[in-house]
């Protein structure tokens, strides 16, 4: 008996019971369902929610693989015994460290989704498939697994389920999870010790008297905020050979993923483009303020303000956030004009927070969450504006 028919029999067996949604989900997750819609007119399209989610995951895979290589590469680099980037040494460390993050993320998240579906008696929704892949990519590599589990539980329940599940949430669940970690366990989410595997342990060894060199794995943003300069070449920043969260370092691969999303029409090019524009405008404003001499070297904002405006696109999580988080179709603006405004403000505010709040150097997370809250308001005014325009046209015609 094939797996499909086994699952199908299980589904039939549990039909009408409380556990039914769980078995239905397993069945549709792996195979196309046998039953079709009956009666009435309906549109047949291949890109259902499952297909949409899988496309995003495909776009994320290069970032994930790169992140695994980079984890080991940065680790050995910091230890002072560099290995080749594309080597088993660097990949194996990444694999051992990142795989548990993925398993915990999916295990806890999908577990809660199944639980809620059973309690509330609706079908399991695919919403967590992308979130579960995004989460391991936007956390530091050494994050303790129990913290991730707590944060995922919080993000899925408070960020999504209380609003009614997939498609009803106001905030991007993956960013809710990251924001929770960020405010709950700041020592694990910021600073110069968490971005390279082994740095925390090494710091503890030194604290207890071991005679070894400290591993410093400052992110570029952190280093710039302290006025130390980037310390990496533009090529390194673009291709991603820098410390940072697991999957967000390589702007190049994110760009490829973004193009893939635009090509498959899953992600909105309007949001991506306007967000980049917003960031560039804010960067230019800061650059011109510095050029005008209003901010001097002694200012604590000088380091980040004087960073060349287009470098902001390469460092930190800006590229990743713009391509994969800001374009979330549920929490972004829905109207085309609204998408331009929404995206522009995401980019604009990201750089603003990044520069003016050295304690929270990653502005893109907070900027997207903030704009998620305002997205419905933007849409409302865009729609109302359109209604007004057409009313005027109607009046002009009938008068």
């Amino acid at each position: 008996m094939s797996l499909k028919s086994t699952l199908h029999n299980l589904k039939e067996k549990y039909k009408g019971t409380k556990m039914a949604p769980a078995f239905n989900a397993l069945h549709t997750f792996l195979y196309l369902p046998n039953d079709t819609t009956h009666g009435g007119t309906h549109i047949k399209a291949a890109d259902d929610l499952k297909r949409t989610m899988n496309t995003v995951i495909m776009a994320l895979i290069p970032c994930l693989i790169f992140g695994m290589f980079n984890a080991g590469y940065q680790h050995y680099h910091a230890l002072g015994t560099p290995v080749d980037f594309l080597s088993w040494d660097s990949f194996s460390i990444g694999l051992i460290k990142v795989l548990p993050l993925i398993i915990v993320s999916y295990g806890v998240g999908l577990g809660i989704e199944f639980l809620f579906a059973i309690i509330k008696g609706h079908e399991v929704e695919e919403g967590y498939l992308v979130t579960g892949m995004l989460v391991p990519l936007i956390v530091p590599i050494d994050l303790p697994l129990w913290m991730l589990a707590v944060a995922v539980a919080f993000g899925v329940v408070i960020g999504k389920e209380v609003f009614g599940g997939t498609g009803m949430n106001i905030l991007n669940p993956a960013l809710t999870i990251r924001a929770f970690l960020f405010f709950a366990y700041p020592t694990w989410m910021s600073g110069d010790k968490v971005w390279v595997h082994g740095a925390v342990e090494r710091a503890n060894e030194i604290a207890s008297g071991a005679n070894v060199d400290v591993i410093s794995g400052e992110t570029i943003l952190g280093s710039l905020a302290q006025g130390n300069g980037a310390g990496y070449s533009v090529a390194d920043m673009f291709y991603g050979f820098i410390p940072g969260s697991v999957g967000e370092t390589s702007t190049f691969l994110i760009l490829l993923g973004g193009l893939f999303l635009i090509f498959t029409k899953i992600g909105s090019w309007r949001i991506m483009l306007s967000s980049v524009l917003g960031a560039l405008v804010m960067g230019l404003i800061f650059n011109s303020v510095v050029d005008a001499g209003w901010v001097t070297v002694s200012s604590k904002f000088y380091g980040l303000m004087s960073t060349e405006f287009w470098h902001h696109l390469l460092i930190g999580g800006f590229a990743f956030g713009t391509v994969f988080m800001a374009t979330d179709p549920v929490t972004a603006s829905q109207t085309n004009k609204g998408k331009w405004i929404y995206g522009f403000l995401v980019g604009f505010i990201s750089i603003l927070i990044r520069v003016f709040n050295p304690a929270y150097p990653e502005g893109v997370m907070l900027a997207i969450l903030l704009m998620n809250v305002f997205a419905p308001t933007i849409d409302h005014y865009v729609v109302q504006g359109n209604v007004k325009k057409r009313m005027k046209r109607l009046k002009a015609k009938t008068a």
Binding site: P144, I158, F183, A184, Y185, T187, W188
Partner: protein
């Protein structure tokens, strides 16, 4: 109940659950968010509000027939302000550290909507004994939520309860901390208090479906 008639007892028990001032009427949220990072502060705040609301209700009820209705809000404010000043002075005299933690929020009891709400809705139309019970009941309802929120925020945020290190010592790495547990800093921030209150509302309404509006 020998002491209280059934009707009077309801004045105390109703606000505890099905007519709770915080979770059902959604009043007095500000202080519930601001001072609940520690259990001790929550308890003191609850007792202070109980004193002000109980006494205030009695005073307003006693003079309810001689207050000109046009200026009744001002009269009510004067009564609350007088009582709050007493609480504030007592706290400063006997628990100075705590009064610093509570800071401006003791003074802000004056603006707590629950108090003016009970004066308007109950004390102006009922006798002193029933008004007293109503005041105590509502303050208890307010206090119980404060204590629940304070309990979880202090336990998860600082790992302590009333200042005792119940989860072990985070610096010496004893108890849970030896296993790698860490305090949740988010719990100490006010947004988390809002979420905890929200969860209490969620639990309460899923237990008693009659409370769900719309």
């Amino acid at each position: 109940m020998g002491l209280l008639s059934k009707k009077d007892a309801k004045l105390i028990t109703d606000p505890l659950a099905d007519n709770n001032p915080i979770t059902i009427q959604v009043l007095g949220i500000c202080s519930a968010l601001a001072i609940t990072a520690q259990l001790k502060a929550s308890i003191v705040m609850a007792i202070s509000v109980m004193f002000v609301l109980g006494m205030g209700n009695v005073v307003i009820s006693l003079i309810r027939n001689i207050i000109p209705s046009k200026i009744r809000i001002i009269v009510q404010l004067t009564v609350v302000a007088a009582l709050v000043i007493i609480v504030d002075q007592v706290l400063k005299a006997f628990a100075y550290e705590l009064s610093k933690t509570l800071s401006v929020f003791v003074g802000l009891i004056i603006t707590n909507c629950i108090i003016m709400g009970r004066f308007e809705a109950f004390a102006l139309g009922n006798g002193p004994w029933r008004s007293f019970l109503d005041g105590i009941g509502n303050a208890l309802g307010y206090g119980i939520i404060l204590v629940i929120v304070g309990f979880f925020r202090e336990l998860l945020g600082s790992g302590t309860l009333l200042g005792f290190k119940v989860l072990g010592d985070p610096i010496e790495k004893t108890g849970l901390y030896a296993l790698g547990y860490e305090n949740n800093g988010f719990m100490l921030l006010s947004p988390m208090a809002l979420i905890v209150v929200g969860i209490i509302i969620w639990v309460q309404r899923s237990r008693n479906k009659d409370l769900i509006e719309d």
